[in-house]
Amino acid sequence: MSVVLLDREINKIHVIDDDTDSRESYGLTVEEIEVETVLQNDRVDNIETFLLTIGNQDAVVSDHHLKKSSSYFPMNGANFISKCYDRHIPSVLVTKYEMASYHEIRPFKRNIPVVLTPEQFNPDTLVKALELCVAEFKGNLSQTRKTWKTLVRFDDVIRDDAGNKTVAMAILPSWNRNMVINLKMLELPHEIQEISEPDLRLYAQVNIDAEDPYELYFQNWEIIKK
């Protein structure tokens, strides 16, 4: 049992979700593309060791929130999928894009070609998503994933009660001058956090051909010298 994605053969898909029923439900869908389905039922302590168990002809499907049982997995799904991408393991993140988890996913988005919602998750979308990963490993990024040097303006910087900066409200004129992207301070490099203030202008590499704000990711921040 295997499936060939471009010229890469996949014969096993690991399914990671901290909820047993969800895990099994994803597994039922994976089964339909006729590859071996491996449900990750045991707790994972060490990511590096766990990654060693994923072979060259394996792929991964993971939920983002993995902390219902606090000891199931040591990191969130986005972080894990990103590590898989680094090792050229085709992988798909499945999650509802909620505002609360949006900022957790964005820092890893460069390494996450596809995020599927549970509604979108079916054998066809899964195969397509994995194919996209393989294509990216070969250096073929789709137009919506390519980044360009882009001006980013902080419209406002929000502080909490203790005066700590928490969110920069960013506007990317070359993407959509009317839409504000809320960037949590923790998503930004330390030197950018330090100088964040309303009306600050910066450059960053951003995939501005993406239509959906959830698809945007930011790299290589540059301070514009006055």
Binding site: L28, T29, D45, V180
Partner: protein, 700 residues
Amino acid sequence: MSTSAFQNASIRFSTQIIKRLGEELNPSIDQSILELVKNSYDADATTCTVTLSNVSAEGGTVTIEDDGDGMDGSAIKNSYLVLGQSEKSFSKRTRLNRIPAGSKGLGRLAALRMGTAVELESVPLKVSNKLNKTKQKFAIKIDWNKFDSAKLVDDVIIRINSSKVSPSKSSSTTVSIKHLKNKVTERDIKKVARGLILLADPFDDDPDAFKPVLKAPEFKELEKLVTKRYFDDADYHLSAVLDKDGNASAEILDYKGKVLFKATHKEITVKRKNKKYNCPVTTFDLWAFILNSTSFSTRSTSLGEVKEWLNEFGGVHVYENGLRVNPYGNQGNDWLDMNLSRARSPEERPSTNTSIGVTRIRDSKGLLKQKTDRSGFIEDDVFHEIKNFCQDALEWMAKKRLEIAEKKRAKSREQTASESTNSKEKVKEQINKLRTNDRVQLVKAFESYDKAVQSQVNTLKAEVQLYRTLSTAGITAATFSHESNGNPIKVIKLNIDAIERRSKKFLVGRLEENQLSKPIGLIRRAINSLAVLGTATLKLLSNEKRRITRVEVHDIIKNTLETFTPFLNGRDIKLRTELAKGTPYLRGSEAALESIFTNLLNNSLVAIENANPSERAMLIKTEIQEDVLVLTVSDNGTGIEGIALKDIWLPGQTTNPNGTGLGLTIVRDAVMDLGGSVRANRHGVLGGADLIVELPIIGK
């Protein structure tokens, strides 16, 4: 067939291995220098000086000099120049009883490869000849270019030279890395300075501790800052200890060092049901600061200097056997998820910006393993236990601080009540001093005033109780929404999809298509409705929406209508929207605007249901009149009957038997907070009521 020995062979290494190992393991200059400084620590040095010369361009030199035990020729040959093997063992102690910090020597290789050449000179502690007490200095030079041109590592010969030195010459080692391949930026120098200062626990205040020094102005500035030690300005000091048997204890001290609370293992480990921690002896100290001008108004230190200090050194640093482990406590590193916990429950919790902490681990058995690239510990069970211990202690502190806050709130409530009674008594006393005629008049007037105040207080109390009840209902709804919107709905959706796909695949010809497609369709519709209910509740509760910021009114209207569409469709209500041109915006919170609009919509939904017209209609309209946005919600419901127009905004006024009578009060309060006004028409453009909100805008 007989075999005979042809030749002996061994596995040899290409010089490329040196290049790969060195450069890929530890590329940053601060970590590379720290590796060499750790060698000085292991050699029992008390001083270690790092000098950077001509490093602003490529080709500079890094020199590390220490007064440690030094090495003789044999140690250089059999230890220093051997990679992947370490003389350091956790069972051994150094002469000064230090637990060695270095490991396989790979970090040292990375450091030495920063330049194209290395010069090492070392005078050992031991005399070379016990009889005549002569002492020798040993030196080597490594030219990495030779490795680059040689084929195998063994092909490059490194000569160990020796020369006599005075017997009184103290032991020492000097390593110079020459012709640096990269320039060192000011930011790098600051990182090196910070790394060196923090390396040997400057928070411990031990005058005899190992204190490496960098010869650079940045170092002096930072050193000054670290020695300022604003621990006494902390409002709370958490001190937690984990003993060798895995039992935890903790106390919270106030700024005077007075113990406020003490906890036993049982209290700290409520979540893990009293289970012992399985990790080495650890202490965890955290100093939490309340950084506001009021709390600093009576202190000698300024809020600014404490903030600067915390900005540079804040976070929880980890020291293993006296030496710092990178990257815990670095700027941006939040290994205890303190900021996340604070975001979830902000009251009385420290963040990495408002606290400083030290976790000291005495790992005499080497249970913790550092990653080869020096990016922290391998996150195994031992590490997780230490993390759990620190997080459990933090959790206990948060609980205790919340108790203090609660007590303060209760006291303040009591105080207000007693202040009010005292004031009343004082007024009565003054009245009694007046002449009889005036007194009677005034007593009457005061009694009537007091009655009115009491009635107002009672109304407010009832209103607060209503808000509390609604909040509880809201919290419960949110909890259920969150749970059902997560896994159960997801599981139903995934499985109904699987049933549909499989039935199409496996039941072809056996069943009429609509025998399954109809029930599947109905289940899907029901799931979608459920999901909408959950999403609508959760969307209202997002804490991001409570921030004061620029809010685009039309966006809020559109988003709320999108959420309400299934409700409106389910009730056959035809909705028309006429939004003014442009993007009017104001400064406020999304939550406030959502409250206004959602309550107006709910109000119309109820009015339409009560009137039950044959064609149900609703109109949402906005107009911009100079700097004011006028929002009108009209419907063909019952209109406003049997109540004064101004009274519809009062709490408790409702024509709906199941209503709370609070919806329009919330609208009024939220609009007033935004500087606007509200009004209504009994019967407006669609026959039912028009509810009109006017909001000042700052842009269109």
